[in-house]
């Protein structure tokens, strides 16, 4: 305000003599003439014309359809076998186990299922257990763990995170591993026998190593440090309520596979995204020689039935599957690709026709035509 006020006063008195005061030196406030400030930056201005959109559709179609076909064929070549052993029906061999199963049973209930593979399974075969209606992705379930404890942090081992409630402490002793996830560890034991045509049962060797993520096994899960003897390391903690054995006795056969780095445990701890899920149980290694890993024929699945699921209407399955470059059997992906690719292809064609019709009527771009 003041500046204009003075200027005014001066103007009234000495018109024309402004150059003599400060006005001449006054810096020009003219904005810089840069492309940025004048909003004239060079720019690419795409516009959705028939010339760009239609080829794009064709290209998408041309890429998607072959991929889809490839995926579909690959997926069809994968062999998969699935058997439900929950024992819901009374005629099921596991019916009695299913009705009696509870966490408190000290002795496992055994049952066995016969099944037939109509086709031989080549290469490595992967054995999964599947659970249905099991909400591993429930918020309270997902968070009910203490990653510090699982990482072998001695403090967390002795005082687990509050997130583990109500499976945090058992009496005065901290639970290791704490939390609902660990507490509900899947503890059925599955054994697979091949019944040869002559009736002999051959136990199929199941590899229990290499079923967990590398990072989980080597980074995320660690036993408490300081002692080679896990019993000592876990001293002062107690096993989860539902467990039969403490964490350091999870795998009696392999001392290296005990504690938090037990692979079955790690697999279980990687929670599933959906209530119906499968987890890798064992790997059946490819046999050397021409015989398939699992030749076609009759098999028997022996189950130590420990894990109760009938109470919440859950289901348990055993799955055998081979694998390709794109993983397991997955028909959806191939079909989806073929569908999307075809739609694009037809859209491209349809639009081309439509565009041509419109041009013939209205000229370029339809609507208003600008003379040039």
């Amino acid at each position: 305000m003041a500046s204009s006020y003075n200027a005014k006063e001066e103007d009234g008195h000495v018109p024309g003599s402004a150059g003599h005061g400060g006005a001449a030196e006054a810096k020009s406030k003219k904005p810089d003439n840069t492309a940025f400030k004048q909003q004239r930056l060079p720019a690419w201005q795409p516009i959705l014309t028939a010339g760009t959109v239609l080829p794009a559709f064709f290209v998408i179609g041309l890429i998607f359809i072959p991929i889809g076909i490839g995926l579909f064929v690959t997926s069809n070549n994968i062999k998969e076998f699935e058997i439900d052993y929950t024992g819901v029906n009374s005629d099921s061999p596991c019916y009695s186990c299913a009705t009696n199963a509870s966490w408190n049973n000290t002795t496992p209930c055994l049952c066995s299922l016969n099944f037939t593979l109509s086709q031989p399974f080549e290469s490595n075969v992967y054995m999964y257990y599947g659970l249905s209606n099991f909400y591993q992705n429930h918020r309270r379930y997902v968070k009910s763990r203490d990653d510090s404890q699982l990482y072998g942090d001695p403090n967390a081992l002795k005082s687990p995170s509050k997130e583990c409630e109500p499976y945090r402490m058992s009496g005065a002793q901290p639970i290791a591993p704490c939390g609902a996830i660990a507490n509900s560890l899947f503890n059925d034991t599955l054994e697979l026998y091949h019944i040869e045509p002559n009736g002999t049962r051959n136990l199929i060797p199941l590899v229990k190593k290499g079923i967990a993520w590398w990072t989980d096994k080597h980074v995320k899960f660690r036993n408490p440090e300081g002692n080679d003897n896990l019993t000592v390391a876990f001293q002062g903690t107690t096993k989860p309520v539902n467990w039969r054995n403490p964490v350091y006795e999870l795998d009696p056969s392999d001392p290296e596979n005990n504690g938090f780095i037990n692979e079955d445990f790690i697999v279980w701890m990687r929670t599933a995204a959906l209530p119906t899920f499968r987890k890798l149980y064992r790997i059946i290694q490819k046999k050397s020689g021409p015989t398939p890993t699992l030749p076609s024929g009759n098999y028997v699945l022996n189950i130590a039935y420990n894990y109760p699921v009938t109470s919440f209407d859950g289901r348990k399955r055993m799955i055998l599957s081979t694998i390709s470059w794109m993983g397991g059997k997955n028909p959806f992906l191939g079909i989806a690709y073929i569908t999307v690719g075809s739609i694009c292809f037809f859209l491209g064609g349809g639009f081309k026709q439509a565009a041509l019709n419109i041009w013939s009527v209205h000229g370029i771009l339809g609507g208003v035509e600008l003379s040039d």
Binding site: M1, A2, Y5, N6, E10, H13, V14, P15, G16, P31, D32, Q38, Q39, L41, Q45, L48, A50, A56, N124, Y126, Y135, Y141, Y151, A156, E165, P166, A180, S184, G210, I211, W213, W214, V219, K220, T271, A272, A273, P275, T276, F277, I283, F312, D313, I323, W325, M326, G327, G328, N330, A336, Y337, V340, C344, F351, A354, A355, I364, L365, G366, D372
Partner: protein
């Protein structure tokens, strides 16, 4: 704030020179405060204000919810980080704004004024001026507070003020002090003045003041005539003294400036509504999911308890569902992310900078760039439907120039060939040494005609030199300064001066002129003063030869009726000329004279004297007397004065109206002036179907006039539309053909019908009734009929009618009439009415309004409109200070609206569409996941992804689009004003568009959830490990989301600059690198509990299936969008698409950019212009005269005459001393001398004798040099030496304003001769020199 506690003032008592007494009343001091915060109150007040924003409170609420463990579905930082960011950014912005407000307040408050304290004048800051102080004001100073004028240096206590800051009128006004106080000349007497003023409490009425002065047991009535209001500037008065009555916030200026309202854009309001809707939507989803949770917990969860027991306080499924509802409210809150508000602010800030940086809105003459003072309104600039413009200083430069004239049937000043070489400006100096050098005229035939001595031409200019109320001031021989009360008169007298009829001076009884170099003194017998009803003024003079003649100038309509019948032929020619001038938008006056015999004069003089003395109906009688003598006059010709428009005004108005923006002119000026400007800036054209004038003085008459106007409109448009219909056609045509004439006459008729003739119908008004009388139209045409009125109408409303029209029950009537018109002009509008009109349109039309003005009288309008634009022109910067945008030329408005506004709107709309889209796509995935995770409010994504999604991964590309996007280049949007329309119709972002966006967002979320669901549920890695674990799923979905929204922004961006590329690619890159970092082993090793996702990114992104899933999801999301957009563009292209496409084609062809493409649209503008310039057939008086009644009386009474040439010279010298004073003060400030120090430089009349309290060394030397040079080199070298001289004087002049009252006497007179010489030799600098020379002489 303090004053609020006191009861409102009933009356104000002020005692002069008695601070103690006045302090009892706790009147407001002269300190003004427009800032909102101080350091202590800033934090609480600002936070309070910020949390009044619904959004901020909502986020605070969410934050609190998240602290409850049973509810918390997200970590606390996902909300607090963005919220804190928002609060901090806003607070910083508010603090900066307020800092500048503090600064400007301080500047004003620290202005210096001279206060009479203890008998001496002391410099005080404005803020320290108290009610009851006596202030000395000098010429050209702003009045510091509302003052009662006590005395002035002019005779009779008169002083002149310019009230441009207050009401925008630039003509000078006279104020006079009460006679008793005007005698108290000097500070000593004034100090003893202890009168007490009792007056009304502070109010905002600018034209009213009532109070009483009690002094020495006598009462004197005070009126507005005695007041000097803050914001006025003292003019042509050397100095005056005033008593402060109202100070600071109590002044009428401040009372008139309405409260600052926080302006919101319509997009803002829409956004808030949408946010509320979204909130509702959120609650709905929450309820759905909570119900789902209840069902799930009852059917499944309760059974699943052996694996997953309920959290302790939860003991039944209902309670669980209740908690689940809140959990979902938290995780779904990202549909309205807080970053929305920050981003919007950032985008607007960017747009504001572009406005500030725009070179094409920079005015090099005044060195001012456009400035976006409010950064939050930019997109509203793209939606303006109504512009309310001030006239003076906004449309016009307020410079009158004598442009054309018609003398005895011959027109001059016509530039014959507009395409030819620029006509040469006439040089008058060789012909006439007294000519004003600034005067421009191009037609030399007129000068020739003067030179050859054409008697008509001579009479013409003689009339101009005699018939006026201009005061002259001759500071030195030949250096004339005219003080005209209206700029028109000044222009006319100056024209006469240049053509050899120089008005030199006047006394109450004489007028001295120099006619063709020969001094002539006329005896002034009478001034028949101007008034609005007469619309003419006359003088009766006796020439030295003794001939008595009446000279009259006035509106042609009035004057032509009073001519002698023998003038018929000339009158026809002249009125043709007048029409031409008027059609060009010039202000015309007709000139006539009448020779009077001695007897006639005697007789009339007698009757006039009687009339004048009559006690009753004096006015009428005097008017009748005037009427009696102003008869049988001989026509001389007509003048046409151009009220110079600002550069590019008609073009701008044409372009804006092509863009469908309605322009209303609200002016304080008179109707004629306003209408004239309306024509010259092409708002009104002769092609208009009809121009209605609302001029009623009562509610009924205004209502009637409005109704009649509407009926006519409907009639006329019916005639136009259904012209073929028989029956109607006949009389409709009759109406139509007659209307132009009627429109013109109606206005004049009402005017001359008398201001008082309100109630009745104006006499000339009723149209000739058509033979078959039309059926009576409905009493009040329904407004829907008004919407489709076709035809171009204009409405002119007078101030007093407007007052009625704005009354509650008339509002709708007024709005429906006015809005059907293409142009509306309101004249004689007060500042408050301006605001009311704006409010009216705002409330009734729900349209975006923009007010543009330059004076303090426009402040209220600027504040109440959606957007206020201030012209930083001559009328101070009050308007600029309260405006949202400011620049220095009206024509920049088109760029501001059509380019910046349009872009802003476009960008903001695209931004919002995309923003809502991306957040729905992001958030709704949780909703679908809810059905698969037992409604447990488990998030799909990693918590870090949720935190960073809006502020890192997706913010910059959309910001870049919101800031840089352009659909068509700037010059195209000026070429095709129609491109502006989508903004006005709110097409680019409205509720429908919003639904489309969120539908698209929801569709995307469905795809993003179910495609990975379908693919991954059975898929395994190539090593057999299933992919369906939660973390893989989360990473896949998140990656797909980021890629889909990035592709979408790529589709939305229409203008890919480097920055867009960097941001889009950078964001995707950023996503991957941040994700890999967060999933890295090293971070996990440090905080194993915080980074659960260790290794997920690596193992997931190595899987081909994951990439195939992402590609599939992207294709499914984008292909339909692409197809839809392509079809839309192909089948229903918008104008912008077409323009853009043409641009592209042209670029491809690499043709030189021919401008022919725009011709179709631009053509309209050109045609309009061309047509406007054409001569209209209708008759319209271009008469306009910014004149006020009463000046004639002032002259004949001799009140405003200066006593002697000595006093005049005296004035001149003091005049310059105050200028020196200013410079001196500047210097003072520069040397950091505390202002109070100036007080010690006592007013020393003898300081010339070598007493230099402040500049001891240099000034003396300079002075010596100046003297010696003067002595040695004599007058020839004066210009150079005087420069030095002036600088010497400058150093001490300010200390002693009283010091220059020394009479200069003979020295002064002796110098006149010399000065005349200097003036002629240094022609280019002549105006700068005189005061300087005088100072020099003074030192001698």
């Amino acid at each position: 704030m303090f004053r609020k506690r006191f009861p409102p003032e009933e009356e104000r008592r002020v005692r002069a020179n008695d601070r103690e007494y006045n302090e009892k009343f706790q009147y407001a001091s002269n300190c003004i405060m427009t800032s909102k915060y101080n350091i202590i109150t800033f934090l609480p007040v600002n936070l309070f204000e910020q949390f009044q924003e619904v959004a901020n409170t909502y986020f605070l609420f969410l934050l609190i919810l998240q602290l409850i463990p049973q509810i918390s579905s997200l970590s606390w930082f996902t909300t607090i980080v963005p919220l804190a960011l928002v609060l901090i950014i806003t607070a910083v912005k508010d603090a900066t704004d307020d800092y500048f407000r503090h600064k400007s307040d301080n500047q004003v408050n620290n202005r210096q004024s001279q206060v009479l304290i203890r008998g001496s004048l002391q410099h005080e800051k404005w803020m320290n001026v108290r009610v009851g102080d006596i202030i000395k004001l000098e010429n050209n100073q702003f009045v510091a507070a509302d003052l009662l004028l006590l005395s002035s240096t002019e005779p009779h206590g008169l002083c002149y003020i310019e009230t441009a800051e207050l009401d925008g009128e630039t003509n000078m006004k006279v104020r006079q002090s009460v006679s008793v106080t005007s005698e108290l000349g000097d500070p000593n007497n004034l100090f003893s003045f202890d009168g007490e003023v009792v007056c009304e409490p502070p109010n905002n009425k600018l034209d009213r003041f009532c109070g009483t002065l009690y002094w020495r047991d006598k009462k004197y009535t005070l009126t507005n005539q005695n007041m000097l209001l803050r914001g006025c500037v003292l003019r042509n008065t050397e100095a005056c003294y005033g008593l402060v009555i109202f100070a600071g916030p109590d002044t009428k200026l401040m009372q008139n400036s309405g409260r600052t309202k926080f302006k919101r854009t319509s997009i803002d309001r829409l956004m808030n509504t949408l946010v509320l809707w979204i909130f509702g939507f959120l609650v709905c989803m929450g309820v759905i999911l909570a119900v789902g949770d209840a069902v799930w917990e009852r059917e499944v969860g309760s059974l699943f308890q052996s694996y997953l027991p309920w959290d302790p306080p939860v003991n039944n499924f209902l309670f669980n569902a209740f908690l689940s509802f809140w959990s979902y409210v938290i995780i779904l809150n990202t549909v309205v992310p807080i970053s929305l508000y920050v981003s919007v602010e950032v985008i607007r800030l960017g747009h504001s900078y572009f406005i500030n940086w725009d070179q094409q809105m920079f005015c090099s003459q005044c060195n001012t760039a456009a400035e976006a003072r409010t950064t939050t309104l930019n997109e509203e600039l793209g939606q303006v439907e109504y512009i309310f413009s001030d006239k003076t200083g906004t449309l016009t430069q307020n410079i009158m120039s004598f442009n054309k004239c018609s003398i005895n049937g011959q027109t001059y000043g016509e530039v014959t060939d507009p395409l030819g070489p620029q006509a040469k400006r006439l040089d008058f100096t060789p012909f006439n040494p007294l000519a004003d050098l600034d005067f421009c005229f191009y037609d030399d035939t007129l000068l020739e005609s003067v030179k050859v001595g054409d008697s008509h031409t001579h009479k013409f200019f003689r009339l101009l030199s005699l018939c006026h109320t201009v005061m002259s001031e001759e500071k030195s021989e030949g250096e004339l300064v005219y003080k005209a009360q209206s700029p028109d008169e000044g222009a006319l007298v100056t024209a006469a001066r240049n053509f050899g009829f120089v008005f030199r001076s006047r006394t109450p009884g004489t007028i001295t002129t120099t006619e063709m170099g020969r001094p002539v003194t006329y005896t002034l017998l009478a001034i028949l003063d101007f008034n609005n009803i007469r619309k003419r003024m006359s003088v009766i003079v006796r020439s030295p030869e003794g001939r008595i003649r009446l000279y009259c100038k006035g509106a042609d309509t009035v004057l032509l009726e009073r001519l002698h019948p023998c003038n018929q032929e000339l009158m026809n020619i002249t009125s043709d000329h007048l029409n031409e001038y008027a059609a060009d938008g010039l202000r015309t006056l007709a000139l006539a004279y009448r020779d009077l015999s001695e007897d006639e004069w005697e007789a009339w003089s007698e009757s006039h004297r009687c009339a004048d003395k009559a006690s009753d109906c004096r006015e009428d009688r005097v008017a009748a007397a005037y009427e009696q003598i102003e008869q049988d006059m001989m026509l001389l010709g007509a003048t046409a004065i151009e009220d110079k428009l600002q550069e590019g005004v008609p073009e701008t108005i044409a372009v804006l109206s092509l863009a469908n923006i309605k322009i209303w002119v609200l002016t304080g000026d008179k109707q004629e002036t306003a209408v004239n400007i309306g024509y010259s800036c092409k708002m009104l054209t002769d092609d208009m179907t009809e121009v209605f004038i609302i001029n009623g003085h009562t509610v009924q008459s205004v209502r009637q006039e409005l109704r009649r106007a509407r009926e006519r409109m409907i009639e006329l448009s019916r005639t136009r539309d259904g012209g073929k219909e028989s029956g109607m056609e006949g009389w409709g045509e009759a109406y139509f053909s007659g209307n132009g004439l009627r429109g013109g006459q109606e206005g004049d008729g009402t005017e001359s019908g008398g201001g008082g003739g309100g109630g009745g119908k104006p006499p000339q008004c009723p149209p000739p009734p058509p033979p078959p009388p039309p059926p009576p139209p409905p009493p009040s045409p329904p407004s829907n009929l008004m919407d489709n009125v076709s035809g171009e109408f204009a409405l002119i409303v007078n101030g007093h009618s407007l007052a009625h029209a704005l009354e509650a029950d008339m509002e709708t009537e007024f709005v429906s009439t006015a809005c059907a018109c293409k142009a509306v002009i309101c004249c004689r509008v007060t500042p408050l009415q301006k605001a009311q009109v704006v409010e009216l349109i705002k409330t009734h039309k729900k349209a975006v309004t923009l007010a543009i003005g330059d004076g303090a009288n426009d402040v209220s309008m600027i504040k109440s409109a959606h957007i206020g634009v201030g012209i930083s022109g001559q009328e101070g910067i009050q308007a600029v200070l309260s405006s949202d945008y400011s620049f220095s030329q009206f024509r920049f408005l088109q760029r501001l609206l059509l380019v910046h506004g349009r872009w802003s709107y476009l960008r903001m709309c695209r931004f919002l569409c995309y923003f809502f889209y991306k957040n729905f796509a992001f958030t709704m995935v949780h909703f679908w996941f809810g059905f698969f995770c037992g409604f447990s409010a488990q998030t799909v994504y990693d918590q870090y992804f949720i935190t960073l999604y809006n502020i890192v991964y997706t913010s910059l590309p959309v910001l870049a689009m919101g800031i840089f996007d352009q659909d068509v280049p700037d010059h195209r949007s000026l070429e095709y004003p129609k491109l502006y329309e989508p903004g006005q119709l709110n097409l680019l972002f409205n509720k429908k568009e919003f639904f489309i966006c969120i539908t698209q967002g929801i569709y995307t979320s469905v795809v993003l959830f179910f495609v990975p669901y379908a693919v991954l549920s059975d898929a395994t890695q190539s090593n057999g490990v299933p992919l369906a674990d939660y973390q893989t799923f989360a990473v896949t979905t998140a990656t797909a989301l980021v890629i889909v929204v990035s592709v979408q922004i790529a589709l939305d961006t229409g203008f890919w600059t480097v920055i867009n590329h960097v941001f889009v690619w950078g964001s995707v890159g950023c996503y991957f690198s941040i994700m890999l970092a967060l999933h890295s082993q090293s971070l996990f090793r440090i905080f194993p509990n915080q980074f659960h996702f260790v290794g997920s990114a690596q193992s997931t992104l190595l899987q081909p299936v994951v990439w195939l899933t992402i590609a599939l999801a992207t294709a499914i999301c984008i292909v339909p969008v692409l197809a839809f957009r392509f079809l839309k563009l192909d089948l229903k292209p918008q104008l912008s698409d077409t323009v853009r496409y043409t641009q592209l084609v042209r670029q491809k062809k690499r043709k030189p950019a021919g401008r022919s493409v725009g011709s179709a649209w631009r053509g309209v503008g050109m045609v309009a212009e061309g047509r406007l310039g054409a001569r209209g057939g209708s008759r319209r008086s271009g008469y306009a005269f910014a004149h006020q009644e009463g000046f004639g009386e002032l002259i004949t009474s001799g009140k405003n005459m200066r006593l002697s040439s000595q006093a005049l010279a005296n004035f001149a010298s003091r005049h310059s001393s105050s200028w020196i004073d200013t410079l001196r003060r500047k210097k003072h400030n520069h040397t950091h001398t505390p202002p109070s120090a100036s007080g010690e430089c006592s007013p020393a009349p003898s300081c010339v004798s070598g007493l230099f309290p402040l500049g001891p060394q240099k000034p003396i030397q300079l002075q010596h040099r100046a003297q010696s040079q003067l002595h040695l080199q004599g007058p020839a070298q004066a210009p150079s030496s005087s420069v030095l001289g002036s600088s010497a004087v400058r150093c001490h002049g300010g200390d002693s304003p009283g010091g220059w009252t020394l009479s200069l006497g003979s020295v002064q007179e002796a110098l006149f001769g010399w000065k005349g010489f200097a003036g002629r030799s240094g022609a280019s600098n002549s105006q700068g020199l005189p005061p300087v020379a005088k100072e020099t002489s003074h030192i001698e």
